[in-house]
Amino acid sequence: MVNPLLFWIIAALTVIPSLSLLFARKAVHVAMAIVLVMVGLAAAYVALGAPFLGVVQIVVYTGAVMMLFLFVLMLVGVDQREDLKETIKGQRWIGLLAAGGLGAFLVSVVARVALPVQEETVGEPDVIAEVLFQRYVLVIEVLGFLLITAAVGALVLTHAPRLKPRRTQLEVQRDRVRVGANPVNKPMPGVYARHNALDVPALDPEGQPIEDSVSRVLKIRHQTQDGAEFRAQLEDPARKDTEEGR
């Protein structure tokens, strides 16, 4: 028999996060919630006398499968928008009705079942191993083939053949010069006595600012300065007096 408090904790730990599958907007949130569900299921397995399966559940699902999901999420971009237009009209309500009907049907059938509970056999690793490697040894070998096939299949599916030969650094540089890029380095940004930073342009020998010397990224973010305020500080008479008086 299972402790009722434990059952309700497990039920809350699995059902509430799994609802994020339906309501959460971001796929990363869903993945983290499903990790919680897997931990709850592991607790359920331990409570049902299957400690080995509980540990395997943690190792395989929270440790490997859900992390693989997270890797793929990062690979395809976390901010993939989900389009909400319905391809089939009323698909949302039909789907909700079908899933809800299935759930209600299953629950109503299972709730009427009363089975006598037999003596507990705890699924310790050695007990599982005896069954696994005596009665089901052929299945284990077939599963080995399946895993190897899956690994090779994943490699083949994600393999991107190289269509063009790889460009060397020398070719990249020659192409740049051919389209008229400046072959030498860009000037460094401004280094002044009062201000030594990347966000102010350097001055050429005639005193004009060189626009190219400031990083393009800073310009796009509007984080550059033209140096006017430093000049104003220098030419401010009040400030000059205080500095001389010091």
């Binding site: 028999m1 299972v2 059952f7 497990i10 039920a11 699995t14 059902v15 799994s18 599958l21 339906l22 796929a27 869903v30 993945a31 499903i34 897997m38 299921l41 359920a44 049902l48 006398g49 299957a50 399966l53 395997v56 559940q57 395989v60 699902y61 499968v65 693989l68 999901f69 690979l75 395809v76 993939q80 989900e82 389009d83 391809t87 949302r92 789907g95 909700l96 899933a99 759930g103 299953l106 629950v107 299972v110 089975l115 509970v117 037999q118 507990e120 056999t121 699924g123 007990v127 599982i128 696994l132 089901y136 895993l147 096939t149 899956a150 299949g153 994943a154 599916l157 994600t158 991107a160």
Partner: protein, 99 residues
Amino acid sequence: MDPINFVILAAILFAIGSAAVLLRRNAIIAFMGVELMLNAANLSLVSFSRIHGEIDGQVMAFFVMVVAAAEVVVGLAIIIAVFRARQTISLDEPSELKG
């Protein structure tokens, strides 16, 4: 508490997973719904193993886990291949499979 309650819990989880598969368009979220359905089946296997007092249900749940791991690997590889080909993981986009 009777272990049959865990079967009811498994039925609820299965319904939630199937709703996710039917409703969500993001391929990865729908795939997580499939995972939840597999785990619900596992939970019912383990609780029936507890009810009957035999170890076979747990062994079958173990097999399901191994097959699910292989299935996740291939499924995610397919999602990545589709994403490379058309820059989207929406399930409605690849409509070339229509007859």
